[in-house]
Symmetry: C2
């Protein structure tokens, strides 16, 4: 199973709508980096509104994919972090400090376009 | 397996990135109609760029879901119809005559916003 990645102008949109298992998370990491390379995307919005539970492995993969995307030159906005996920992330010591966040997909896209100066 | 449906302002975005089996297609039909009801979406873009083969059952489900969405008051744009899919649709006698189409997701969204007068 793969997470669909949509291209919208020079941004990529990802909506994760079910709990990720480890294999899917790693596949997603690979797919996203490949798609950034393929499309020269400048920004990425990852919407995790539907995720209400996150474990340490998935949190790490998510943190890694953000850092990797940055290395490749793409800004990342994470949207729709649920209360329980926010609690878990902080309790796991994952602060996602340098990451842009927003309440939902629309605000995330707005924030991204603003950051990209569009 | 479910097809993710993204909400972007008053539109829904769907990107079908793998061949649909019959069960997934029916589940998608149900999910989309439910989401239209839930979000009061006025427009829908269904991107099928990644689909390079379509059979008569899936074509029928796709045609049905477009008609059903219209009944619920939402305009539908289909984007990224591949040559082989276009050939199959016409050979099957499915002309999708009243459906808006566009070459890719971006053009589809533009067309939809134009139709919705935004």
């Amino acid at each position: 199973m793969r997470i669909p990645i949509l291209k919208l102008r020079d941004c990529l949109l990802v909506s994760i709508q079910w709990e990720l298992d480890d294999q899917t998370a790693l596949q997603f990491q690979e797919d996203l980096l490949h798609k950034i390379h393929l499309t020269s995307a400048r920004g990425i919005v990852i919407d995790i509104t539907s995720i209400d539970f996150i474990d340490s492995f998935i949190a790490k993969v998510l943190g890694d994919v953000i850092d990797m995307s940055k290395l490749m030159g793409a800004k990342v906005v994470i949207t729709g972090i649920q209360p329980a996920v926010a609690i878990t992330l902080i309790e796991l010591g994952i602060r996602l400090e340098s990451v842009l966040t927003a309440i939902d997909l629309e605000s995330g896209l707005d924030k991204l376009y603003q950051e990209l100066g569009e």
